[in-house]
């Protein structure tokens, strides 16, 4: 069937610059480029181009430009090029539209409508290069009251705290499964988390044996498919996370196509090689909040009450009520994943239309937990579209204890957000299991890039904290007075719990 889909991108090659080195041809797993020996020329099939820019980045002579195809369908606010493209695609395949990464629709990004405060005159700003500046954060349930006795004149703790995760910077790597991303990408995340004194999350794909040595900085996820969940997996983790929902696809389960289930992944996930790994939409042992409580306590019991248990949900309309239930069900951490949260594969319609922005969910959850007097009983971690250090610091000021970054971490490793993770052909060696592709990501380099990113963000957070006259991150957490909204409606301001700039 002739496809009516126009190429999304045009590949322009400067023939004068091109040295026929064929890097582009070798680098493109989508087979866009090929070299014709007879004509001594490189050609491109633009219909296959996904815009990942691998060829452009690696071309040694800058001979390539990839740009949006300017050919427009007749202007129409309703029937846009994207709408038509989707319809053609479905008319040609009869399938569900698939995509990768997070929602790319233009929903308001509230981070960009919130500005931060700085101290002047009445309160000196603090220079983090000369003064202490503390980002250390502990995740886990905090007691209502701490009893401290005296032994020999020195304080002696009488209240035992439940297990806590210690973060040297309030940024963790989001759940991304081995399967969705390559082993090298997993190793990079694990090593970077270890080096930075923070945590990465296995996602629902189990944990490769070789990565057990980073277990102290690993949050092991237990999802509805229970892939790779066994005693050793639980034992090796620093914390466990029950995945109920994901911001990219609230209400549905995961899908790893059989093509990505290699021998190693088969062993790690404990499923037959080459079979689709489909995790159910709900946990079939959790049909109500008390069932969740049972699983939380089962996991705690199985790990001798030595590890905090997180529950991750997608940000949806009633997140606040759900979060309250999760805290009361005994979770130590509530992880919220907003509508812009990424994924390896999700139905496009779900990714782009289900869920709410994380900023609103976070504000609602933090407010609700405080109203109910239980905010201290669990930490709140947010994910879904955290792009830079100012997003992090705004999230913390809105009430988060820490953030998860997924997409940003992948971008640090080379991802260009082409949204084709589900094809398994990631030219950057990240979202692929093809050994030819995945070896492109050197874990030493991946680790370094991730460590650099977190280091840079941490410095920026310190600068902004110091500017606000604050020298410990906990003094900003939930401190919404240090935020102001710009161009927001009163209702938005009320939900966010902040004032408008100028007020």
């Amino acid at each position: 069937m002739k496809s009516y889909i126009l190429p999304q991108y045009l590949v322009e090659r400067d023939d004068y610059r091109c040295i026929r080195c064929e890097v582009c041809a070798r680098q493109c797993a989508f087979d866009v480029h090929w070299y014709d020996e007879e004509e001594d020329a490189v050609f491109a099939d633009e219909s296959k181009c996904v815009g990942c820019l691998r060829c452009v980045t690696l071309c040694p002579t800058n001979a390539l430009v990839v740009r949006h195809n300017p050919t427009q369908i007749p202007p129409n606010a309703n029937w846009t090029g994207e709408v038509l493209r989707n319809i053609y695609r479905q008319a040609e395949t009869g399938g569900v539209l698939l995509t990768g990464m997070g929602c790319d629709k233009g929903y308001p990004i509230y981070w960009d409508r919130i500005v931060l405060d700085a101290s002047q005159v009445t309160n000196p700003s603090i220079d983090p290069l000369r003064e202490p500046m503390e980002l250390r954060t502990y995740l886990g349930a905090k007691p209502d009251v701490v009893k401290v006795g005296r032994k020999g004149g020195k304080p002696s703790l009488e209240t035992r705290l439940t297990p806590q995760l210690r973060l040297e910077t309030p940024i963790m790597f989001s759940a991304i499964s081995y399967g969705a991303i390559s082993y090298n990408a997993c190793e990079s995340l694990a090593r970077a988390a270890t080096e930075m004194g923070t945590y990465y999350n296995t996602g629902e794909g189990g944990l490769h044996r070789n990565l057990y040595k980073y277990g102290d900085h690993t949050i092991c996820q237990v999802a509805s498919g229970r892939f790779g969940v066994h005693a050793d997996y639980l034992e090796v983790a620093a914390a466990l996370e029950i995945k109920i929902g994901q911001g990219a696809k609230p209400g549905i389960g995961g899908h790893l196509p059989g093509e990505k289930v290699s021998a190693e992944i088969s062993r790690t996930r404990m499923i037959p090689k080459g079979t689709d790994a489909i995790s159910p939409a709900p946990h079939h042992d959790i049909y109500s909040i008390e069932d969740l409580a049972q699983l939380i306590y089962a996991l705690k019991e199985a790990t001798h009450w030595e590890k905090p248990v997180s529950v991750k949900i997608a940000a949806v309309h009633n997140s606040a009520a759900i979060a309250s239930g999760i805290v009361r069900a005994g979770a130590d951490i509530v992880a919220l994943d907003g509508i812009r949260g990424g994924t390896g594969a999700a139905p496009t319609m779900i990714r782009d239309n289900v869920g709410i922005p994380i900023e609103l969910a976070l504000a609602a959850v933090d407010t609700r937990l405080r109203e109910e007097g239980i905010r201290n009983r669990a930490s709140v971690v947010v994910a879904g579209g955290i792009r830079n250090s100012s997003d992090v610091i705004k999230a913390i000021a809105l009430g988060a204890d820490a953030v998860y970054i997924g997409t940003a971490a992948l971008v640090a490793m080379g991802c260009h957000v082409c949204q084709k993770c589900y094809t398994g052909k990631c030219n950057w060696g990240i979202a692929t299991q093809d050994p030819y592709l995945s070896k492109r990501l050197n874990p030493d380099v991946g680790t370094r890039r991730l460590v650099n990113l977190l280091t840079g963000w941490s410095h920026e957070i310190m600068e902004m904290l110091g500017g606000m006259g604050i020298n410990a991150i906990e003094s900003l957490r939930g401190n919404r007075l240090r935020l102001r909204g710009v161009g927001l409606t009163q209702e938005e301001l009320d939900i966010l719990g902040i004032k408008h700039a100028g007020a």
Partner: protein
């Protein structure tokens, strides 16, 4: 005027002078030296607020709560008295005596009541103090034009708009005798002058005078709200008073541990502590991180037995301490201590985040004490 007419900044921003003076044996003295001392730091205030707290001034009613109230008008007074009569038995109600004084104008109606919860109510109460706190919160939040600015036993707060020395003379503090006195001169950067916004801030026996700005105010306030405190004044000082009440009275922390919450040691310091101490400090910071007071401050916290001086952990505001025999001083500056006590020699600058605690020597302890050595001062530098 009490509420509503004020600019709703996030909170008050102000610089200040603070002065505290205590006789460790509980021997009383009148308010004159306090007025002298605080007047000596005039540069630190701008005439928009001054106040005092005195302990031991109502011995005849020592077991009763003394509510001191500001009213905008008669209607607020009637409504408040109606509310109080419902649940308290009032043993005394009187106008707080004042004298006209240049520099102090437009005072609200100032009344004080000696009271206790009715017996029929008190016998059902788990904690009488909690009940009293709730009553104070109720009046301050729900009764328009009424404000309880003092609610302790055998103590009282006197504050208003003006320079502190004028406010002191206005309230005739020379006629009161107490063994702990604290004073405050205010330099608010918002020009709104409101009698209730002056320091000290008080709840039950706790009073706080404060120089500084708490950058963590937003989260301190939200944390306290979880425990039923309503921050109606939008002042840092109010937050400190509630935090102290929560930590010491309700959660049973010692003064030292409370100050370890308000001005927590740095993690790098905690990491170097011996295991048992480290464990306690880690737990305190983990659990009470939302009560860490971040930003520049020096404060004097007092109750009927103690006077405590504390600065923020990186010591961005001044605090000096001194002692002379039974007298203990805590001040923004050293000069006023010498001004009121010309034989004072022993003064020192406390470390940031380390409390100076002056504690009343109880009669029983007095006998054990030897050689006139004051055992009760901690946080002192080696002489």
């Amino acid at each position: 005027m009490l509420r509503g007419a004020r600019v709703r900044d996030d909170k008050d921003f102000s610089g200040c002078s603070i002065f505290g003076m205590m006789n460790l044996r509980g021997e009383k003295f009148n308010g004159d030296p306090m007025i002298t001392a605080i007047a000596n730091m005039k540069e630190r205030s701008n005439g928009l607020g001054g106040g005092f707290a005195a302990y031991g001034i109502y011995p005849q009613y020592a077991e009763l709560y003394c509510f001191q109230l500001m009213y905008d008008d008669q209607a607020a007074k009637e409504e408040t008295e109606g509310y109080l009569k419902d649940s308290f038995s009032l043993e005394g109600a009187e106008v707080i005596p004042t004298r006209s004084c240049e520099g102090v104008s437009d005072p609200p109606l100032l009344w004080r009541y000696f009271l206790q919860p009715r017996e029929s109510i008190a016998c059902d109460l788990e904690d009488v103090d909690d009940f009293v706190v709730r009553a104070v919160m109720h009046i301050n939040v729900f009764i328009d034009g009424a404000f309880v600015f003092s609610s302790g036993k055998d103590m009282g707060v006197f504050k208003g708009v003006g320079f502190p020395e004028d406010v002191g003379r206005f309230f005739r503090l020379d006629e009161y005798e107490g063994y702990i006195w604290v004073a405050h001169g205010r330099f608010p950067t918002n020009t709104q002058a409101w009698w209730g916004g002056a320091h000290p801030f008080n709840i039950l026996d706790w009073s706080v005078v404060h120089n500084g700005e708490i950058s963590s105010y937003g989260i301190n306030m939200r944390h306290l709200e979880m425990y039923g405190y309503k921050c109606t004044l939008f002042t840092d000082t109010e937050v400190i008073a509630y935090a102290v009440d929560l930590l010491v009275r309700r959660h049973g922390l010692s003064i030292e541990d409370m100050s370890r919450v308000l001005a927590a040691p740095l993690w790098s310091e905690i990491d170097r502590m011996p295991a048992r101490e480290r464990e306690a400090h880690v737990a305190l910071r983990q659990s009470y991180g939302s009560l860490l007071l971040n930003g520049p401050f020096s404060i004097i916290i007092s109750n009927r037995e103690q006077m405590i001086g504390l600065t923020d952990r990186i010591r961005l505001r001044p605090l000096v301490a001194g002692r002379n025999g039974d007298f203990m001083y805590i001040s923004s500056e050293e000069a006023p201590m010498h001004l009121v006590d010309d034989t004072l020699k022993d003064t020192w600058i406390p470390h940031g985040g380390v409390p100076v605690v002056a504690e009343l020597i109880k009669p029983a302890a007095r006998e054990e004490e030897t050689g006139g050595k004051v055992l009760s001062i901690s946080g002192a530098e080696p002489a």
